[in-house]
């Protein structure tokens, strides 16, 4: 059994309390950070090969390094807890079961980048995670772990807990910053990157919940140890959210070098009885689908990129042979059409068109050129938009059609499904 780094405290019933966290050695990494000093922390994080675990996989140490050395005014740390990528639920587990690990990680990061105020943006629907995390912040404040002169270090820090209001695009870091500033969540053109000009116009580091939770173990046990858990280009373990047609859906923390086959067959208990694998989305709904023949891949950022898909948020959605892929595409296309923020014309229009085309195929009104049209429309929008939303959407658009073309053609030719003939199909959009 592989070592658990991020979920190490999950088995302890009081692990979410300050007493429980401290009983397990909590906040010792923070003390050590203060002894090490800022530059040594940053060096350790670089050594760890930690890569952002929210979706983009950007090296965390490198991101911190973009903050200008010469500057006036404050630097902000913003925690992206706007978990929203379909198929992903690991940040919810961390917020609920190990909130102090996140607070400690935030403090280490804040100290390293010289930040006095951090903001955590929690998705609005996450009421229970918000309550538990807020309680943990209050505990930390009461214990002098937040506030002025923390642990006698001379370092001051406060955490502002901010709640979203329902919008997938606010998980995109610049959309999140717009939303934090009291606006609709429209992404901003980069450059300038947030590390140069972010929240309230100040240098800002936006890090994901799970990424920050890696920091206490990195400081306690060293960057080299953390790096050794993973691959050459990505250190550590990762929390895989596995859902869909498996026997044991849930969160599995494993080294990023685990194969998709092992994750599905060994850890998640394999397929439901009598069923076979049809396809799997390995990194949240924006990742291209892999067929049953393509699951001998490692789950690290580069391994999945080489397989033509992406590690994304590590949300693994498993589909067995009862799945109608045109219906799956319809559901996914409905999502992207609904969540496109409307700022960039190619994204706003293409997501709507593809949703309509996927709908008519599913409902038996498709025309023979529709699958080609989906691929064509999808490709035309690539690289034309402010943020990565649309480039994410084309992952499923193109891969579902190209890898399961026969299913789409069957729907168009027969006006019905070959997987589940005559069944009722999904209702229209909300």
């Amino acid at each position: 059994m592989a070592e658990r780094v991020l979920t190490r405290n999950f088995d302890r019933p009081d692990g979410h309390t300050l007493a429980g966290y401290q009983a397990l050695g909590g906040y010792q990494a923070l003390r050590r950070s203060f002894e090490m000093g800022r530059e040594a922390i940053a060096a350790e994080v670089k050594k760890s090969n930690l890569r952002g675990l929210g979706g983009a996989g950007f090296p965390t140490g490198t991101k911190w390094g973009f903050i200008p050395k010469e500057r006036k005014g404050p630097v902000y740390l913003v925690v992206n807890a706007d978990e929203g990528e379909p198929g992903t639920f690991k940040d919810r587990y961390l917020l609920e079961q190990d909130p102090h690990a996140l607070i400690e990680g935030m403090l280490i990061a804040a100290y390293a980048i010289g930040c006095a105020t951090s903001f955590i943006y929690i998705r609005g629907e996450y009421v229970r995670p918000w309550r538990i995390f807020t309680r943990a912040v209050e505990e930390a404040e009461g214990a002098g772990l937040l506030g002025a002169n923390i642990l006698g270090s001379g370092f001051d820090h406060r955490i502002v807990v901010h709640r979203g209001a329902g919008a997938y695009i606010c998980g995109e870091e610049t959309g999140l910053l717009s939303s934090l500033e009291g606006k609709k969540g429209w992404p901003k053109i980069k450059p300038p990157f947030p590390a140069i000009k972010g929240a309230f116009g100040q240098p800002t580091i936006v890090n994901n919940v799970e990424t920050l939770c890696c920091l206490p173990p990195i400081i306690s046990r060293g960057g080299e140890w953390f790096a050794s858990l993973g691959t050459k280009t990505q250190g550590g373990t990762r929390m895989f959210s596995v859902s869909g047609h498996v026997q044991r859906p849930g969160v599995y923390e494993l080294p990023v070098s685990v194969t998709l086959r092992s994750l599905i067959e060994e850890h998640a208990g394999g397929m439901r009885p009598g069923r076979t694998l049809k396809g799997v989305v390995p990194g949240g709904s924006s990742a291209a689908i892999l067929t049953a023949a393509e699951i001998d891949v490692t789950m690290d950022v580069d391994g999945l990129r080489n397989a033509g898909t992406m590690a994304g948020s590590a949300g693994v959605i498993v589909m067995d042979d009862t799945t109608c892929i045109p219906e799956a595409l319809y559901v996914v296309a409905r999502f992207y059409a609904h969540e496109s923020c409307g700022q960039c014309t190619p994204c706003r229009e293409c997501t709507g068109w593809i949703y309509k085309i996927a709908g008519r195929i599913l409902h038996g009104k498709g025309v023979p050129q529709d699958p080609d049209t989906i691929v064509d429309v999808a490709q035309r929008g690539t690289g034309t938009t402010i943020c990565a939303f649309y480039d994410g959407a084309i992952g499923p658009y193109i891969s579902y059609v190209e890898k399961f073309r026969a299913e789409f053609d069957h729907h168009i030719r027969h006006g019905d499904c070959d997987v589940r003939p005559g069944r009722p199909v999904s209702a229209p959009a909300h």
């Binding site: 379909p86 639920f89 609005g124 996450y126 209001a165 329902g166 989305v281 589909m319 209702a427």
Partner: protein, 158 residues
């Protein structure tokens, strides 16, 4: 809704929220949440009132309110039942759950029961796919759902 105004305690809370951020506009989402909890939904006159508290244009507040799914622009029922219809939940039978809820409540998704008890919504991924098919009932996540479990949940909603 004639007199739209917060209580003195709520106004103090508004000022506290505004002071948390380098720019007070950043408190707009939290204050709109407070407004919705107080007035039930965000009517145009509530937008105007909140805009005054921030010295923002009502148009800005309207733009924000209409952007986010958790702000309601019309009255909702005493309970809001939001069923996820995204990929995992759909693979696991979300449409059957929705059909059952619609039949039991006698309304379509997006509507409120005539007695004002329940508003039924379709929503995108709530990020609890491990318990799919699932829904959010007011503040709580509920899943995995079966028709029987849905019936039990509905019985508890008064």
């Amino acid at each position: 809704m004639s007199a739209v105004s917060f209580s003195p305690a709520q106004l103090a809370e508004v000022r506290r929220l505004q002071a948390l951020y380098p720019e007070r506009r950043a408190a707009l989402l939290p204050v709109l949440r407070l407004a919705q909890e107080t007035f039930g939904y965000i009517a145009p006159e509530v937008e105007t009132y909140v805009a005054e508290l921030f010295e923002l244009s009502p148009a800005h507040v309207h733009e924000v309110v209409t952007f986010y799914t958790l702000f309601f622009q019309a009255p909702v029922g005493r309970h809001v039942v939001a069923v996820c219809h995204n990929l995992t939940c759909s693979l696991l039978g979300a449409e059957d759950i929705l059909a059952h809820l619609q039949a039991r409540l006698g309304i379509e998704a997006g509507e409120t029961t005539p007695d004002g008890r329940v508003t039924l919504l379709r929503v995108e991924c709530l990020c609890a796919c491990e318990v799919g098919p699932m829904m959010q009932v007011d503040d709580e996540y509920v899943g995995p759902l079966t028709r029987d479990r849905v019936d039990r949940v509905l019985e508890d909603l008064r």
